[in-house]
């Protein structure tokens, strides 16, 4: 995907190519820029609210509330008069965990997307290709339809979603395993088969949920469309270990992922234990995706588009690709959450990511084709 070194007669095209595939040395700078953007997006999301709320909870109030939660210092910072005492609950317990949870979900999905696309050597793969999303969603919907949504302090649907996702991947892996080996093609196919079958049960769940009453119906829909409304500090703490572990594991495997992109045989010649490696990446990707889906439902397109965008920015080398994709995923989701909360009257975040994800991806694809021509 790197631009050929031959000088191009057209200056603008040359510039574009450099933008599309900058030299390897510049990726840390790009990552820094993205991190700054991510931080800015996070602030924007925490600062803003719909107009009537924003009048009372201004950015200054938000900063005060955040400052009051600093260790040691916090206790000495008073809330200025005129600031309602519920601002703390609104900012610290509602907005902040929601924004942070969104960032983490975006990061997990983007990382898992990179992992599956590289491992399966298929640009159409995404975290949901291997059936995790269908399995997870079906699991939590089943709990909701059967009326267990309130059990375990309301965490039962999430827990079941998480384990149902993992069981689904185990099933897919088992199906694809022939004589101790798993080929990327077979894995992809069995993932699609299992995923599509489980997905076909979802209209049934919707129909059953419809009859079960408004609260169950809306819980089912929010799983299906992706939703950050119930993300709280505990969800953030639940996601964090998966983010850290999955991210570290993948970054540590960057060289092997690079080798795998030349094909399995080449990778084996380069000293990669292909089977063990594949298993490791699949388990990591499945854990990350299941964690994300169990907290936020199915958020479409992030795990599919972000790896492609990141590859356009820094090329296919995984040492740069993984952190850049991760940051980009977090940024995309926090911006989608901002749009949803402030401008789109709480439209489900999965609807927003797919609304913007598809056109962005189409544009990237067109640009690439033009450069190749």
């Amino acid at each position: 995907m790197t631009a050929p070194p031959a000088p191009s007669p057209q200056k603008s095209l040359q510039w574009r190519r450099r933008l599309a595939a900058p030299s390897r040395a510049s990726w840390p700078r790009l990552l820094l820029l993205l991190l700054i953007l991510l931080f800015a997006g996070l602030l924007l999301d925490i600062w803003s609210g719909e107009a009537s709320v924003a009048r009372l909870v201004t950015p200054a109030v938000v900063l005060r509330v955040l400052a009051r939660h600093l260790p040691l210092l916090g206790a000495h910072i008073p809330l200025p008069s005129g600031v309602p005492d519920w601002a703390d609950a609104l900012v610290w317990q509602n907005r902040l965990p929601r924004a942070l949870g969104g960032v983490l979900v975006g990061m997990l999905l983007a990382l898992a997307g990179v992992a599956f696309q590289s491992l399966l050597m298929n640009p159409l793969a995404d975290p949901y290709t291997v059936g995790v999303s269908s399995g997870s969603a079906l699991g939590s919907m089943l709990v909701v339809v059967l009326g267990g949504a309130g059990l375990l302090g309301g965490y039962l649907p999430s827990l079941v979603a998480f384990f149902a996702g993992l069981v689904t991947v185990a099933l897919v892996y088992g199906m694809a395993r022939v004589g101790g080996r798993v080929s990327a093609q077979t894995f992809l196919l069995s993932g699609t088969i299992v995923g599509t079958f489980l997905w076909s049960l979802i209209p049934l769940m919707l129909s059953l949920g419809n009859r079960a009453g408004l609260d169950r119906r809306s819980a089912i829909l929010s799983t299906l469309l992706g939703n950050l409304q119930y993300v709280e500090w505990r969800s953030v703490l639940l996601l964090l270990p998966f983010g850290v572990a999955g991210g570290l594991l993948l970054v540590a495997s960057a060289a092997e992922l690079d080798a795998m992109s030349f094909g399995e045989e080449t990778a084996a010649h380069l000293g990669v234990d292909a089977e063990a490696f594949k298993r490791r990446v699949i388990v990591a990707g499945a854990l990350m995706t299941a964690a994300a889906v169990s907290v936020a439902g199915i958020i479409a397109f992030v795990g599919f588009v972000v790896p492609h965008l990141a590859r356009r920015l820094v090329g296919p080398g995984h040492r740069a690709l993984l952190p850049v994709a991760m940051t980009l995923g977090g940024l995309l989701l926090v911006l989608a959450d901002y749009l949803s909360r402030v401008w789109l009257n709480g439209l489900e975040i999965g609807a927003i990511t797919s609304l913007f994800g598809a056109p962005v991806f189409a544009a990237v694809l067109r640009q690439r084709n033009r450069l190749r021509a």
Binding site: A89, N94, T129, S222
Partner: protein, 343 residues
């Protein structure tokens, strides 16, 4: 090799809107404030005055402006909504109902009747029941009403949006079924009971500046939280009972965001008992929303309803007023029955 979820996305995205349209169909009240053209143009008395005609055959003009010819007092009645079923039972016509919906749960006898699917009533079972009157809900059963009228089945469409319209349309049903006397008595009783509550509360509120209206949030669903705009019968009754609907001006689509609920600071939440757990679990609600912090959730008893335009509204006004302002009704504290499940 499209991942399956992408194919379903258009359906999934469209569904909430469909559901929003449907959810008014059973127990929940109408959540679309703009869609009220079917309601009579604020002339409830006009429909009452036409009720003087006695005996059949007669003609009745319903809320959609349609005039039904009725040859004789209906003996086989189909009800297409739980509120209609309640009205018919209240008019002593329970034994003439031949078909009602899966959502009809009051009075309990209504559950024994043959049912139609409340969400998508099919025309065939209705035709098979050979009714001489169908009582439908104006904007929800739109297409079905058209088809029924094509089949020459007298179909009365009612769609009360507030308490006044409830009276008027109760009288309309009474007129169509030859139960005028019973209908007038029912309306009179409702008016008297709601009027008494209003008077008690008004006196109480003017007694002392410390007596304030309680901010109340109506919640259907927790994800998203649907609420009810002012100018609905729920809102009317909240005002009668000494509260004030915090969703004013109504949020777009009648969906209120969790942080908006925190900012609105409702002291009491009206919702079904099934919803309480979900609302308590919303981040920041346990400490940031007074109603949740103090466990002030209100739902009506079996004998009352805030969700349907039915004669039970009067009892709901009484229960809610006693819950919001127990002091106004003497020293007797709020009855614990307010926490019992409604349905």
């Amino acid at each position: 090799m499209t991942p399956p979820f992408r194919r379903f996305l258009p359906i999934a995205v469209g569904l909430p809107f469909v559901l929003m349209a449907l959810c008014g169909c059973q127990s929940t009240p109408n959540t679309t404030p703009s869609a009220t053209p079917a309601a009579p143009p604020s002339t409830p008395k006009a429909t009452i005055s036409t009720a003087v005609s006695s005996g059949f055959p007669r003609t009745v003009t319903d809320a959609t402006g349609y005039t039904l010819p009725l040859k004789a007092a209906p003996q086989r009645i189909v009800s297409l909504a739980p509120s209609n079923t309640e009205l018919l039972y209240a008019l002593d016509l329970g034994n003439k109902i031949v078909l009602d919906t899966t959502s009809c749960d009051y009075p309990p006898e209504a559950k024994q009747k043959p049912h139609l699917d409340a969400l998508k009533p099919d025309i065939e079972p209705i035709l098979a029941a050979t009714p001489d009157l169908v009582v439908a809900v104006g904007e929800l059963n739109g297409k079905l009403i058209e088809r029924l009228r094509q089949q020459k089945i007298p179909t009365l469409a009612i769609n009360p949006q507030n308490v006044t319209e409830t009276y008027a349309q109760l009288l309309l049903v009474a007129q169509a079924t030859g139960q005028e006397a019973k209908g007038a008595a029912l309306v009179k009783e409702m008016q008297a009971r709601i009027g008494a509550v209003k008077q008690t509360i008004d006196t109480y509120l003017t007694q002392s500046p410390a007596h304030k209206r309680t901010p109340v949030l109506v919640a259907f669903g927790d994800n998203p939280i649907y609420t009810t705009a002012p100018k609905s019968f729920i809102s009317d009754l909240i005002v009668v009972a000494g509260g004030v609907n915090v969703a004013d001006p109504p949020p777009p689509g009648n969906i209120v965001s969790p942080e908006k609920v925190i900012a609105l600071q409702p002291a009491v939440i009206l919702c079904s008992p099934a919803l309480q757990a979900g609302l308590k679990r919303l981040p920041g609600f346990a400490s940031g929303v007074p109603a949740v912090a103090q466990g002030r959730f209100f739902s009506t008893s079996e004998q009352a309803t805030l969700e349907r335009p039915s004669p039970r509204l009067a009892a709901a006004a009484e229960e809610l007023a006693r819950y919001l302002h127990p002091d106004a009704f003497g020293a007797a504290p709020a009855k614990p029955d307010a926490t019992k499940p409604a349905r």
